[in-house]
């Protein structure tokens, strides 16, 4: 352990060489909201939920007023921790930013929590509740997305995809199978399967693969398993997502 440290919301956080801000914060038990970050994978930096401000300054103007000059904004999952830096995370501005980002994800996909198997253990839903997102605010896309039930054990419901690429990374880095990838760009970006037909059933994904068990929302679901733990007794029903600094997704519920 290194003896270097930085400050997160004025609290001193030690860090080891090479750790990013979020890695050091989570190790120290301090929660920073995140979706695409996962401790077992290289930081990705796409969801931007973990955005923090670094080294804001307060100056006194000639007429004696104090003015805060905001520091640079950065994704804390990909920004290396540096000794002595002052990082802000729990500010009104950043909470509002995160709420907006969650609302953006909520309108981009089709998220119908009341009928979703992942309700109560979904990270997007968990974050929305924890951040106090009361509604999606923006007009829904109502984008038309398909369901792929071609695989014997796994169902894909693309309606809920937040494009965090955890399954892409898991399949490439851990399973060494490259079952998932992304195609399209901008608002047509979407998850694809590694087969000429485009169907999951024509890939070599196994239900035990990391990629089949890493989805933080309700896209990659195991067939013949559903609602084994009833609503109301699930992980984020018991404690808010911010209670545990490190969020592994998804959580294996004890039956």
């Amino acid at each position: 352990m290194s003896n270097e440290s930085f400050f997160l919301d004025e609290e001193e956080i030690p860090f080891a060489e090479g750790q990013t801000i979020i890695q050091a914060a989570l190790s120290a038990g301090k929660y920073i909201p995140h979706l695409c970050y996962h401790p077992e994978f290289k930081p990705h930096g796409s969801c931007k939920l973990c955005t923090v401000r670094i080294d804001s300054r307060t100056i006194t103007t000639e007429d004696g007023q104090t003015v805060k000059i905001p520091g640079r904004a950065a994704a804390s999952c990909t920004t290396p921790a540096q000794a002595g830096q002052h990082v802000e995370s729990e500010t009104d501005e950043l909470r509002d930013l995160r709420r907006t980002l969650v609302q953006m994800l909520l309108v981009e996909g089709n998220h119908y929590c009341p009928s979703c198997e992942k309700s109560g253990k979904c990270m997007l839903q968990g974050l929305a509740y924890d951040l106090g997102v009361m509604d999606p605010h923006f007009p829904q896309y109502f984008s038309k997305r398909e369901v792929d039930a071609s695989h014997a054990d796994i169902l894909l419901d693309f309606n809920r995809c937040i494009l965090c690429e955890l399954c892409v990374r898991a399949s490439a880095e851990m399973d060494k199978k490259n079952v998932f990838s992304l195609s399209g760009r901008g608002n047509t970006k979407h998850l694809i399967c590694n087969s000429e037909s485009g169907m999951l059933g024509d890939t070599n994904l196994a239900a035990t693969d990391k990629a089949a068990n890493v989805c933080p929302v309700g896209v990659i679901l195991h067939k013949r398993h559903g609602f084994e733990v009833p609503y109301g007794q699930r992980r984020f029903d018991k404690a808010p997502i911010s209670d545990n600094a490190v969020q592994y997704a998804p959580v294996k519920e004890q039956v």
Binding site: S46, K48, T100, M104, S183, G184, R185, G186, I192
Partner: protein, 621 residues
């Protein structure tokens, strides 16, 4: 959509794919070039062709499909024997491209974006093709046609119907003019090929020279070129293939910019010489030009210049007979992605991947192309570096202002009598530029492109310089007849088309901002929507992964502040009106029944709002 060919792969296709793969030695990093060449032969990339390419390169198939799906100029569905793409920059709109495209579609019995029933042709739009000084412009099978008129539309429709091969179309259609209106130190350089190379001193002395000249990046960011080269020179390559690389960023995609097109067309020697100087300084043996797909028409000419330079010992082994001075240049083509102008996205694309900007650090100077130290410079920067190498730092430093030495090439388009290329010493005022290009009754200038700054008349005394208005060179002029709201709306649509989709704020935020602008344009917007726009702009600026998203809201922010009335006259008196529009929900029914009478509308008020406001801004959608 087009079922011209089945998804199967015929023996001819297979042979064509294999030939391209062999030519590129089955090198996966050349995927972009392979996809383009295969598509040029087969007209589209069928599922079976993608599988064959993936197998040939030992890549996961989904990776190949993901790359093909990223770029606008690759298509995984047949889009017809003729693919027509109208450039849809605001300057094309102002020149009337919407009416011309509608005329073309009507004559071809087509809807924009659809392929004709016989699989012959499709007509659509694309982002600015860099022909703003001679628009309206379009691409037919990725070859540019400029100065479109109604008459030219009719003739082209005829050529397409008669299935005349592109090679037999009248050559004047494909004429692209330089339109150089003002030359200064760079465009009037008086140098012969090799002059800069013959003036080379030791690499360290050259770093010092470039630093002393004060040269800064001409793409817009303005980083010190000498410093960049020094960092890159000091960085150490890694692994078995350790090397340094020079990359010329010729992905000139900023709407309204076309100066690199002219530099490459008429000053290619100087650009290549600048790359060679850079190679000499940083210790690179290889240089790559990333040429935007829209400039495919320059490829053969540029390759001929490279060949001539090799023959003259200005490129290749032992340049100018100097042992150990080896440097060669290869040209890679992009395929329609503005984001690849961002240097790390460009590097990804050069490596045959989706053009998604990388995380920084590390920076390209230490870990760039293939993870090796790489100097990525703009076309104009490299040409300027060659000029400095030949003529010296002191001479160059004397041009321009104290903080911005040298000259800047502006691409001027829009409402002026003489659109084209203007080179000025830094420090020239906006007013001077406007006077020189013959602009009258100017309401605003958009400087530095869609992501840049909208300048109102009160600011025309400001200077083009890093310390005042920095720019990559785009300079679009709008006179009093234009509608600045529609200008901003055009730019917002551009960012929706060009966002790479990597990060949430840009992927979703650009679309939400477009929705707000469209809602206001349709007459349903209120104060509530303006507040929403600000909230989205803040989110884009704070949280986006790269410059594209961070600046995507600038055009709305600027016009909201400086041209508020163009928004006001569209705003509803009510604070809020839902985005869901009952009348437009009936449009499908009207289309099917062919009715447009009052009974086919929800409410009389909605019919009025359809007439639109301030028509001259132009609107195709």
């Amino acid at each position: 959509m087009g079922n011209v060919t089945s998804n199967g792969i015929g023996p001819d296709d297979s042979g064509a794919v294999q030939a391209v793969l062999s030519r590129h030695k089955h090198d996966a990093s050349r995927l972009m070039q392979i996809l383009r060449e295969v598509q040029e032969g087969l007209t589209w990339l069928s599922p079976a062709v993608l599988t064959a390419i993936a197998n040939g390169l030992k890549l996961p198939r989904a990776r190949v499909e993901g790359v093909a799906g990223f770029y606008h100029f690759f298509h995984t569905e047949s889009l017809g024997r003729y693919r027509v793409l109208w450039s849809d920059n605001i300057t094309d709109r102002m020149a009337g491209n919407a009416d011309l495209m509608a005329r073309m579609c009507k004559k071809l019995w087509l809807k924009p974006g659809d392929v004709s029933e016989d699989g012959l042709v499709s007509v659509g739009t694309t982002s600015c093709t860099g022909m703003c000084d001679q628009g309206p412009a379009l691409l037919v099978n990725y070859r540019p046609i400029t100065r479109m008129t109604a008459d030219r539309v009719d003739k082209i429709v005829d050529l397409i119907r008669k299935k005349v091969p592109l090679e037999e179309w009248p050559s004047e259609y494909f004429l692209v003019e330089d339109n150089i209106r003002r030359k200064d130190a760079l465009l009037d350089n008086g140098l012969a090929p090799g002059d800069a190379l013959r003036a080379l001193k030791s690499p360290q002395e050259m770093v010092d020279t470039i630093k002393a000249s004060g040269l800064r990046g001409r793409g817009g960011a303005g980083f010190s070129t000498g410093q960049k080269w020094e960092f890159c020179r000091a960085a150490v390559g890694t692994g078995a293939n350790a090397a340094h690389y020079v990359v010329c960023n010729a992905d000139e995609g900023e709407p309204g910019t076309f100066k690199d097109r002219v530099l490459l067309n008429s000053y290619a020697d100087l650009v290549f010489e600048g790359m060679t100087v850079a190679g000499y300084v940083i210790g690179a043996k290889k240089g790559l030009v990333y040429l935007r797909g829209e400039y495919r028409f320059l490829l053969d000419k540029l390759n001929a210049v490279l060949e001539a330079r090799r023959a003259a010992k200005l490129l290749g082994q032992s340049i100018l007979g100097q042992t150990g001075f080896d440097f060669d240049i290869e040209i890679h083509l992009g395929a329609g992605a503005y984001v690849c102008g961002e240097e790390t996205a460009l590097l990804e694309s050069l490596e045959g991947k989706r053009g998604v900007p990388r995380k920084r650090p590390p920076f390209p100077v230490s870990s760039g192309y293939l993870g090796q130290p790489t100097a990525v410079n703009n076309v104009e920067t490299l040409a300027s570096a060659a000029l400095i190498a030949a003529k010296g730092a002191a001479w160059y430093k004397a041009i321009g202002t104290a903080k911005s030495s040298g000259t800047k090439i502006l691409s001027i388009s829009g409402d002026c009598q003489r659109p084209g290329i203007y080179e000025y010493p830094y420090g020239v005022t906006v007013a001077q530029v406007l006077a020189d290009c013959g602009a009258r009754d100017t309401q605003a200038c958009q400087i530095a492109g869609a992501s840049g700054l909208c300048v109102a008349p009160g600011e025309f005394g400001r200077k083009i310089a890093f310390e005042d208005i920095p720019t990559g060179g785009s300079f679009m002029v709008f006179d009093n007849s234009r509608d600045m709201f529609q200008v901003a709306r055009n730019f917002v649509h551009f960012f929706v088309d060009e966002s790479c989709g990597f990060c949430t704020p840009c992927r979703v935020g650009t679309t939400l901002l477009k929705n707000v602008m469209d809602k206001i344009s349709d007459g349903h917007g209120g104060e509530y929507d303006i507040n929403d726009a600000w909230r989205i702009i803040r989110t884009l600026k704070t949280a986006s992964h790269c410059g594209l998203g961070q600046t995507a809201g600038n055009c709305v922010a600027d016009t909201l502040q400086k041209f508020r009335p163009s928004y006001e006259l569209r705003l509803n008196v009510r604070d809020f009106e839902p985005a869901f529009d009952l009348d437009s929900a009936l449009s499908k029914m009207r289309e099917v029944t062919g009715r447009d009478d009052p009974g086919a509308h929800f409410h009389i008020a909605h019919r009025k709002s359809k007439s639109g406001v301030g028509a001259k801004g132009g609107d195709a959608s």
